[in-house]
Symmetry: C2
Subunit: 546 residues, 2 copies
C-alpha cells in the first residue's frame, strides 16, 4: 500500500523502478532488523527505520557524488493522503475504548487545552528568543504557525514506546492525547493560516474557539456516522450470507471514504478516521464473520505498521536533503541555535501543561489509586516530547514557498531545524523512554517474550491471559469491566457517582447502547454467531478490546 | 490500495479530492450492488462495475457539457504497477496447486502454443481483411502487435465466470491458461516491439523462441526464489516468537518486491508474481501463525477483489473517452467494421487452437473420464474469449503515439475498437458464460447459498464440507489426494504411470519436497504448531488448498 505512493515519479521511468526496488527492499530490511532488535531496550522500530533511512541517504549521497540523498522528496500529499489515514484509523480501531472514554476528560484536557498552552508558549518564546539572539523578527502569524508545528506530538512514535498491556493508564492517556493533539495541531495550523492576523479584533479569540469547536464536533460526527453506516449496511445486507472479502473491502473503503470526505469538507480527517475506527470496532466488527474479524484486525494493524515504517524510513532519508542543508551551511551557528531553542521550548511548553493539568485532574479524584503520581506525570511529559511526521508535513507546508532570498534562507533554516528537532527528539527522547519507565515505575517485570512488543504487533493486541479464560459469546457484558488495580472501582453509591462522573456517563451510554444502538447497528451479543468460516470453534473467546 | 493510484493527479488539487471521493464511493457502491445481484445468473461483479463505470461516465459527460467523461485517464503504469500484481499474486496464492500441476502440460499447450496460434491468425487475418475492406495497409510489426493485443485473454474476468468448486477441471484449465496467456502476450508484445521486423532473417524464429524461453524460465525462477526466500526468512527468524503483522507485511512486501525486480530485469512480472504466490502458499503460509494464515488468505483476496472492481469501473468510465470517439465519429463505419473484424478474429483465433489442441491432448489420455468432451471444449473456447485490461493497456502502449494526422486517426480507431471489443466481449460473452455452462454441463445443481460465489470471495476459498471432517495437523499428507470423479485416479501400476506421466512427476516432486524442501523451507506438517494467536483451537483443520 505504502508502496503505491510514488505519485511524484513517472513510474515508466527506469530510474523510478530502481528507486521502488530499493525502497521496498529497505522496508523488508527494516521489518527483519526491527524484529531481530526486538529484545533491545534502547532501540525500537521507528529508530531502526530512521537509522536505516539515514544510512541509505548517506550511501546515495556518496554514490551520486553529493548531488542527492533521497529517492523521493518529502511530500505532504503523500503523508496526509496515504500514510496517515491507516495509522490513525488503526489507532482508533485497536484502542481500548472503555479506558479511552473513562479518561476522556483528562485526554481532552491534555489534547486540546494542553496543545493550546504548548502552542502559545512556543509561539511567544520563539518571538522573544529569536529577537534576542538576532535571528530575525517574526510576524505573529509565522510565530503561531511555528507554535502549531512544534505542538504536534508524534502519536506514531508514542505507540512504539508505551505498551497497552504494561502501562494501560499511561498508554491510554498519552496516546489518546496524541490523537486529539494531532487533530488540534492541524486545526490550529489551518485556523492560523486562514485568519487575518494583521487586524486582530475583539472577536478573534471567540471566532477561533468557535471554529475549533465546529471542526471538532463536525469531524467527530462524520466519523461516527461513517462507522454506523458501515455497521448498518453490513448488518442489513450481508446478514446470513457473509462474504469475508466484501466485508473487509467495504470496511476499508468506507473508512477511507470518511477520511477523504472530511478533507473534502475541510474538516479534520484525522479526528474523523479515528472515531470511525472506534465505531467500526464497536459495531461493524461484531457484524462480520470470524475470519473477517481476524483479517481486519491484523490487516489494519499491518497497513499501519507498514505505513509507520515507510514514514520513518522516508523521514530518515529525507533528513539529508542536501539542497536545504547547503543553504544553511554558511551560517551553521544559526541552525544549531534555532534547533536548540526549539527543542528547549518543546520541553518547556509540554511541562507547562502536563504538570498543572495533572494537578487539576488529581484534585477531582478521591482515591489515591486514581491520581497521577509524580513519576507518571514525568513519563507523560517525556513520552509526548517526540516530534514526527506531522511536524515535518506542517513545516513543509508553511516553509516551502520561495519568495525572496532572505525568506528562502529563513525557510531553509526552519526546515532543517524541524528535521533536526524530529531526529533528535525521536532518537534521544525515544530511546530514553523505555529505560525511564523502568526506572520510574516499580512494575513487576512482564513476561520476557512480550517484553518489548508494541501496539502495532500481534501479541499486544491479543487478549491478556485473564480474558482468555472468560469466554463471553453470550450477553455477559460485565466481563468488560476489568478489575485492574490501577484502573477504577465500579461506583456503588451516589457519592461515588458524583465524584466519578465519567463512570456515570459510561453507564448511561451502555444502557443507551444496549437499548437503542446495538439492536440497529449490531455489536457484541446482538449479532447471532454465524459459523461460516473455517476458524470457528465453540467457546472461543473473541479478542477483548472494549 | 487501489485508491492510492491517482498518481497522475495533483492531490492537493481540490478537484482531485472530489474525484477521489466519487471514485471511492463508486467502489463501495459496486461492492454493495454486486452483493445484491449475487444470485442473478446473468450479471457478475465485473459487469456491474463496468456498467456503473459507463453510467458514471455518461453522467460526467452530461454534467461537464460533453467535455470529459472520466475522472482519470487510463494509465498503463497504474495498471501494470498497482492493479495487476495483487490480482495475479492472489490467483497464484489461491490456485489449487495440485490440479494446476497435474494439468500443467495442457495448460502450457493452451497458454503458450495456443496464444502463438491465436496471435498469428489474428495478425494475418487483420492484414488480409483490412486490405480487402480498404481500411489500410498494415506493416508486419503493427499487425503482430495487434495479434498480441487481442490474444490476451482476460484472466480476471475468467475468475468471475468459472467456479473452482463447481467445475474444477475447467476452472484450472481456463484460469491456468489465462495466466500463462497473459504472460505470453506481454512477452510476445515486447518481443515484437524489440525485434527488427524490417529485416527478417533466418534466425529470427529461433531467436524469438529463445527469448521467450529465457523470459519464461527466468521469470518463473525469480518467483520461486522470492517465495522460498520469504519462507526461509520467516521460518528461521520468526520461529518461536511470531508476530502476525510483521509476517503479513513481509509476505506482501516480498511478493511485491519479486514483481518489481522482474520489471527491473525486463522479465515478466506477471509470471514471477504468480509463481511467487504458489510458492508462498506452499511453504511460507505454513510457517506463520494461524491468524497470519487467515489474514493473508483474506487480505490478499480482498486486495485482488478491490483491484478487479477498480479496474472494471475504470475501464467502464474510460470507455467514453470523448476525444478518441470524436476522432472516429466522421467515419463511424470504419470503427464498426474494425471492431467486428477484430471480434470475429478473436473467435476464430481461439477456436483454431482450443479444438485441435484438445484433440491432441485427448489422444494421450486413456480413460474416458480424463478426456475433454466436446461440451467442455466449447466452454473452454467460450470462457477465454473475454478481452480485458491487459488488451487495453497494450493497446494504449502501442497506439498512443501522436505522429501525423493519418496515423493519429488510425490510432484513435484502434483504441476505440479495442474498447469496443473489451466491452462487447466482457458483457456479451461474459453474461452468456454461466447460462452456457448450465446448458452444456449436466452437473447436479450446487447448494444455492454458494451458487454464484466467485473465487475472490470467501466461501469458494473455504474448505469444502468433506475437508472439514478430515483434520490433518499431523503428517497424513494423503488427504491431499482428492477422490474427485472428474479428476484422476491415483496411478496404481506401471502401465498407468506411463499413460499418466504428470502423476509420476507429481509423485517424484512430492518425494523430493518431503525429503529436501520442506525441512528447509517449512510447509504443511514440517512446522510445529505454534499456538500464539487467540483463534487457535486444537483439532481445527487448516483450509485445504493443495
Amino acid at each position: 500500500m505504502a508502496l503505491h505512493l510514488f505519485q511524484m515519479l513517472k513510474t515508466s521511468d527506469y530510474a523510478s523502478v530502481i528507486s521502488m526496488n530499493l525502497f521496498v527492499a529497505l522496508l523488508c530490511a527494516c521489518i527483519v532488523i526491527g524484529h531481530l532488535l526486538e529484545e533491545n531496550r534502547w532501540i525500537n522500530e521507528s529508530i531502526t527505520a530512521l537509522l536505516i533511512g539515514l544510512c541509505t541517504g548517506v550511501v546515495i549521497l556518496w554514490i551520486s557524488g553529493g548531488k542527492s540523498s533521497h529517492l523521493l522528496v518529502f511530500s505532504e500529499d503523500l503523508f496526509f493522503i496515504y500514510l496517515l489515514p491507516p495509522i490513525i484509523f488503526n489507532a482508533g480501531f485497536q484502542v481500548k475504548k472503555k479506558r479511552f472514554f473513562v479518561n476522556f476528560i483528562t485526554i481532552m484536557m491534555f489534547g486540546a487545552i494542553g496543545t493550546l498552552i504548548s502552542c502559545s508558549i512556543i509561539s511567544f518564546g520563539v518571538i522573544e528568543i529569536f529577537k534576542r539572539l538576532g535571528i530575525g523578527t517574526l510576524e505573529l502569524g509565522e510565530a503561531l504557525a511555528i507554535g502549531a508545528i512544534f505542538a504536534a506530538t508524534d502519536s506514531v512514535c508514542t505507540l512504539q514506546v508505551l505498551n497497552q498491556d504494561e502501562t494501560p493508564l499511561l498508554y491510554s492517556l498519552v496516546f489518546g492525547e496524541g490523537v486529539v493533539n494531532d487533530a488540534t495541531s492541524v486545526v490550529l495550523f489551518n485556523a492560523i493560516k486562514s485568519f487575518d492576523l494583521e487586524q486582530p479584533g475583539h472577536g478573534i479569540a471567540l471566532q477561533f474557539f468557535g471554529n475549533f469547536l465546529y471542526l471538532f464536533i463536525a469531524s467527530t460526527m462524520l466519523g461516527f456516522l461513517g462507522g454506523l453506516l458501515s455497521a448498518y449496511i453490513i448488518k442489513k445486507l450481508y446478514f446470513g450470507r457473509h462474504s469475508t472479502d466484501r466485508e473487509v473491502a467495504l470496511m476499508m473503503l468506507m473508512a477511507y471514504l470518511t477520511y477523504i470526505l472530511a478533507e473534502l469538507w475541510f474538516l479534520s480527517g484525522i479526528l474523523t478516521v479515528f472515531f470511525c475506527g472506534i465505531v467500526m470496532s464497536h459495531y461493524t466488527w461484531h457484524n462480520v464473520t470470524e475470519s473477517s474479524r481476524i483479517t481486519t484486525k491484523h490487516s489494519f494493524a499491518t497497513l499501519s505498521f507498514v505505513a509507520e515504517t515507510f514514514l520513518f524510513l522516508y523521514v530518515g532519508m529525507d533528513a539529508l536533503d542536501i539542497e536545504k542543508w547547503r543553504f544553511v551551511s554558511d551560517r551553521p551557528g544559526t541552525s544549531v541555535s534555532v534547533s536548540s531553542v526549539l527543542l528547549a521550548l518543546v520541553l518547556v511548553g509540554r511541562a507547562a501543561f502536563v504538570f498543572p493539568l495533572s494537578f487539576l485532574m488529581n484534585l477531582t479524584k478521591k482515591s489515591e489509586n486514581d491520581k497521577l503520581s509524580f513519576s507518571m506525570q514525568v513519563i507523560i511529559w517525556w513520552a509526548g516530547l517526540m516530534r514526527g511526521a506531522v511536524s515535518m508535513a506542517l513545516a513543509y507546508n508553511e516553509f516551502s514557498s520561495t519568495s525572496g532570498h532572505a525568506q528562502l534562507r529563513f525557510n531553509a533554516t526552519m526546515i532543517t531545524s524541524t528535521i533536526t528537532v524530529v531526529l533528535v527528539s525521536t532518537m534521544v527522547f525515544g530511546m530514553m523512554t523505555k529505560p525511564l519507565i523502568r526506572y520510574l515505575l516499580p512494575f513487576p517485570p512482564p513476561p520476557p517474550k512480550r517484553k518489548n512488543s508494541t501496539v502495532s504487533l500481534d501479541e499486544s493486541a491479543s487478549p491478556s491471559p485473564k480474558s482468555i479464560t472468560v469466554p463471553f459469546l453470550g450477553s455477559n457484558h460485565d466481563s468488560e469491566v476489568e478489575t485492574d488495580a490501577t484502573d477504577y472501582q465500579r461506583p456503588s453509591s451516589i457519592r461515588d457517582l458524583l465524584t466519578t462522573p465519567t463512570h456515570t456517563v459510561h453507564r448511561l451510554w451502555r444502557r443507551f447502547d444496549d437499548a437503542f444502538m446495538r439492536p440497529v447497528f449490531g455489536g457484541r451479543g446482538f449479532v447471532p454467531f454465524v459459523p461460516t468460516s473455517p476458524t470457528e470453534c465453540s467457546g472461543q473467546p473473541s479478542p477483548e478490546w472494549d
